[in-house]
């Protein structure tokens, strides 16, 4: 029902915008603001932006896209089910997800489930490894994932409709429109993804039962330029989805999980001589409902609302030096079946500076302090520098202290939550090497992260389980990204790859954490010839421990999964594209969680219409 409404709205807006676009007007210079903080304050770190062309190479949920295009490791309870990331060997709540610069990890459990994000509904998806709490707040330890809406004032009207259909009755539909004229710009997208998800497990192990899911996403961004120095932007994102949680054995109780979120962000950007101020107001709401037995109407729920007020003032002393102060207040109200009703308020002050003393060298520093009644907040900092030795080589260095604050579950779980918990904190550093030679780009990063006071739930006297600041984990390793593009007449070739080596060690036991592979690699090759495009993707995950004592007898095997895709563009203005994809071409039997087998070879055909 909900999805129907969204599509009617989409059609309506489409009609309105069509009218807008038909009038001619003067072109204005392209002005794209996508999370200026990410662009300006990432000096010592590496940002990888996933090209649009890759988004259609995998399934639409963000787990798939990042699995094949980044070093982030995902634990997935079967296709489309609960998916948690491990970035640089850290825990699921140590990857922060930012939506147009706003931290949207769950207030309830501190994580983002990457199967509740439809990548097709976002204009730009970037990832940045390493610490980022100074700018982005809680959870930015392993790295950050940025989902952004692009709003430019360059006159245009672009509509794109994509429909894909594949094995297990999987439907993937996306529609987006970008329109800009005069002082208005609109970006709108809607996406639907659903699947019966009843694939067969490899080697006659049975069928994936009770795994069906659907989700709908609707994103809207509107920008209005009042005059050259005042721009208003409104972003909104709505998601709702339902997943049945797949069974390992047919006799298990069938359960399902519904989640929804709503996000609104209003921004006012003002430029006055050397000052740029950005006032942001955001309202975020998240909600889940869990039915432990679908035959019964009983469910449990959790629900959190966030009000954020943020003021960001940047002063450019000169072209070479910039200071920025960010004040923000976050008020959260949460409630749930096991949470009672609680609110918390966090006020934070961030001061940032960036300086480029010479053409070759620039550095930045930042500091953050939060004030809240809920926990003792440490002072966070970040410092980085970049030195350009030549056009071929740049050296990047970053050190930072980051944190992950206790979640609502940790603090308020009925008769178990512990209001006195400290945040988890990390000290970390990295050194990055960036090589560029013609169309070849290579990034090599080495990092070390020491996280302490990690929160773990343990029983206490009387058998009540309560969270404690317990664990200490050190993770270190290397990450490599490789990218190469070449045009040879009518042929275009692009190659991308990543490799990561990760040690993630519990300091009490000296053992590697379970479900963190030592090795992960991805590779993508794309070729265009005339109207044809072919693509090959490869994912390699090394074996992982499933036992805390690293008993290798129970390891999940390493695996390599390949996808191939091809598409053909046709039509008068090349505005149709027909494509097909074979996923898991070699029918590899693999699982990312014990007893949670992933699908074998499967197919997808799709049509894109641009108008």
């Amino acid at each position: 029902m909900k999805s129907k409404k969204i599509y009617i709205l989409v059609l309506f807006l489409l009609y309105v915008l069509q009218g807008l676009g038909q009038k001619d007007s003067v072109n204005v210079l392209e002005e794209v603001v996508i999370d200026a903080k990410l662009k300006d304050f990432s000096t010592g770190q590496t940002i990888i932006t996933i090209p649009d062309s890759l988004k259609r190479g995998t399934r639409p949920l963000l787990t798939s896209l990042l699995n094949y295009n980044s070093p982030i490791y995902f634990k997935e309870n079967g296709l489309g089910m609960v998916s948690s990331p491990s970035f640089r060997g850290t825990a699921a709540s140590h990857t922060a997800v930012l939506w147009n610069g706003i931290n949207v990890n769950s207030q309830l459990n501190g994580q983002t489930d990457f199967n509740t994000i439809n990548a097709g509904a976002y204009d730009q998806i970037s990832i940045r490894g390493g610490g980022g709490s100074v700018v982005y707040g809680t959870g930015a330890i392993g790295g950050t994932v940025h989902l952004n809406t692009r709003l430019s004032f360059k006159e245009k009207l672009e509509n794109e409709l994509y429909v894909g259909y594949g094995s297990y009755n999987s439907l993937d539909a996306q529609y987006s429109v970008k329109a800009a004229r005069g002082n208005w710009s609109v970006s709108l997208s809607g996406a639907h993804n659903s699947s019966d998800n009843n694939y067969l497990y490899p080697n006659d192990r049975g069928e994936n039962m009770n795994g069906q899911f659907y989700n709908n996403t609707f994103n809207l961004g509107v920008a209005y330029r009042l005059d050259p120095s005042n721009i208003f932007r409104l972003y909104s994102g709505i998601f709702s989805g339902e997943r049945h949680l797949s069974l390992v054995r047919p006799s298990e109780t069938r359960s399902k999980y519904q989640d929804a979120h709503m996000r609104y962000l209003l921004e006012w950007e003002n430029k006055m001589s050397a000052f740029t101020s950005l006032l942001k107001m955001a309202y975020l709401k998240e909600k889940y409902e869990y039915y432990s037995d679908i035959a019964s109407d009983n469910s449990s729920f959790g629900d959190a609302e966030n009000f954020i007020l943020k003021y960001d003032l940047t002063y450019s002393v000169s072209e070479k030096m910039q200071f920025s102060t960010v004040l923000s207040n976050t008020n959260t109200k949460g409630k749930g079946s096991n949470l009672g009703e609680n609110s918390r308020n966090i006020f934070s002050v961030v001061i940032l500076m960036k300086h480029r003393p010479t053409e070759k060298f620039s550095y930045e520093s930042g500091i953050r302090k939060e004030v809240t009644g809920n926990y003792e907040s440490p002072i966070l900092f970040s410092s980085s520098g970049i030195y350009r030795f030549s056009d071929l080589y740049r050296l990047k260095v970053n050190a930072s202290r980051n944190f992950r604050i206790p979640t609502y579950n940790d603090l308020y779980w009925t008769s178990a939550g512990r209001p006195g918990l400290k945040p988890e904190t990390s000290w970390q550093g990295e050194i990055g090497n960036e090589f560029k030679w013609r169309q070849l780009e290579l990034n090599l990063t080495g990092y070390y992260i020491a996280i302490k006071d990690m929160i773990r739930w343990l029983p206490e006297s009387g058998g009540v389980w309560r969270p404690r600041n317990e664990d200490e984990v050190h993770t270190y390793g290397t990450e490599a990204y490789l990218q190469w593009e070449k045009g040879l007449g009518e042929i275009q070739v692009a190659l991308r790859g990543s490799y990561s080596f990760t040690i993630s060690e519990n300091q009490q036991t000296g053992k590697q954490l379970i479900y963190v592979p030592f090795h992960k690699a991805t590779f993508m090759g794309q070729g265009n010839f005339k109207s044809w495009e072919i693509e090959y993707q490869l994912l390699y995950n090394g074996e992982v421990f499933t036992r805390s004592d690293n008993n290798s007898r129970y390891n999940l095997n390493s695996y390599m999964v390949s996808n191939i895709g091809a598409s053909y563009t046709f039509g008068k203005n090349d505005n149709y594209q027909l494509g097909g994809r074979v996923q898991n071409v070699f029918n590899t039997a693999y699982e990312t969680v014990e007893n949670r087998w992933m699908p074998g070879r499967n197919f997808n055909i799709n049509l894109t219409f641009i108008f």
Binding site: L108, S251, E252, Y290, S292, S548
Partner: protein, 347 residues
């Protein structure tokens, strides 16, 4: 969120009282059975994210074989949260609460005889009497109104009837033809139901101290251990016979009555008193070493002249059991699977 829900499952699992298999005293008078597992001890390993397994320790304690069910049955597994085992003369019924499943095997060869995979909802403990099996089911976690006893026909391995218990159900044991159902779990409850298997009805209840955690039957007596209290009842009249209420029983669990002695555990200590005693034990017979955060004394059993202790470990790696004499002497420490929770005997 799912993590928390799973965690809760583990939480619940962690509060389990150890399965005291009450019908392992069956004396076999038939010709000696044949099979690889004729003479020894089964250790049930609950598993965690992984399926449950069974370790077999041969009599004499000198060799142990892991994951015997998978080994005998082509890698098949027992399902999640293996809770307990009960037996008939030929069969073993392995209950996996997380999978609503009972795997039925030949108790001497461990070859699969059948599975009961419908009509169960969070099954816990069972007992076999007169061609039927009676299995307690806790059904939905958030309610005890729906808890029931499933009556299973052993010939067809199907659930024939379900009897709503009216309150939470946990252990079930047989005595003089009647079944005694512990209506207490996770530290609360103070009642034992008397279930008559000839007409599948609950005929009455026995009230115990609060926080009832384990029951046992020996010599025509029903024993009940609750929070700080040990009671006994006459099995024929169901009248109270004796009661010890003492600070010295605070935290006591794992009641086990064997050869006229009452055994129980407090934290990592094993205690015993004579069945006629009026005071709790002054000091432990055994204190074993455990690093487990929540699996200390996760399984406990006294059989003949031996005391068996299972340590839950961290529930994410293989753990161990220890075997002592009833004199308190450590005989062996033996590696088993993930989360060992009970001992069962073939001899």
């Amino acid at each position: 969120m799912m993590r928390i829900i799973k965690l809760l499952l583990v939480v619940f699992a962690a509060f389990l009282f150890n399965s005291c298999n009450k019908d392992d005293d069956t004396v076999l008078e038939q010709p000696s059975p044949a099979g690889d597992y004729v003479d020894g001890i089964f250790v049930l390993n609950e598993g965690s994210q992984s399926a449950g397994t069974v370790t077999f320790i041969r009599s004499g304690l000198q060799s142990a074989e892991q994951e015997i069910y998978a080994a005998v049955n082509d890698g098949d597994d027992l399902g999640n949260y293996a809770q307990s085992i009960f037996f008939t003369e030929e069969l073993a019924f392995i209950i996996s609460g997380g999978s609503n499943l009972i795997t039925v095997v030949d108790r001497y060869t461990f070859e699969l005889a059948g599975k009961i995979d419908s009509g169960l909802a969070a099954p816990r403990y069972g007992v076999a009497v007169g061609g039927k099996a009676y299995v307690t089911n806790q059904a939905a976690w958030d309610s005890s109104d729906d808890d029931y006893i499933a009556v299973i026909d052993i010939e067809s391995l199907t659930v024939e009837e379900t009897v709503i218990a009216g309150s939470v159900v946990e252990d079930i044991i047989e005595g003089n033809g009647l079944l005694y159902v512990q209506n207490a779990a996770y530290g609360s409850g103070n009642q034992i139901s008397i279930f008559n298997p000839s007409n599948n009805t609950i005929e009455g209840t026995i009230t115990t101290g609060d926080g009832l955690n384990s029951i046992d039957i020996e010599n025509n007596m029903l024993y009940a251990l609750s929070s700080g209290r040990l009671e006994s009842f006459d099995l024929s009249t169901h009248n109270s016979i004796s009661e010890i209420t003492s600070e010295g029983l605070t935290g006591a669990q794992n009641l086990n009555v064997e050869n006229g002695k009452i055994y129980y555990t407090i934290n990592n200590g094993v205690y015993f008193i004579e069945a006629t005693a009026t005071e709790p034990a002054a000091s432990p017979l055994i204190e074993y070493h455990s690093n487990s955060d929540y699996g200390v004394m996760y399984g406990f059993e006294v059989k003949d002249e031996h005391i068996f202790i299972a340590d839950g470990g961290d529930f994410a790696s293989n753990s161990f059991v220890q075997v002592f004499t009833t004199g308190g002497e450590l005989l062996e420490t033996i590696e088993v699977g993930v989360g060992p929770n009970g001992f069962y005997f073939n001899d």
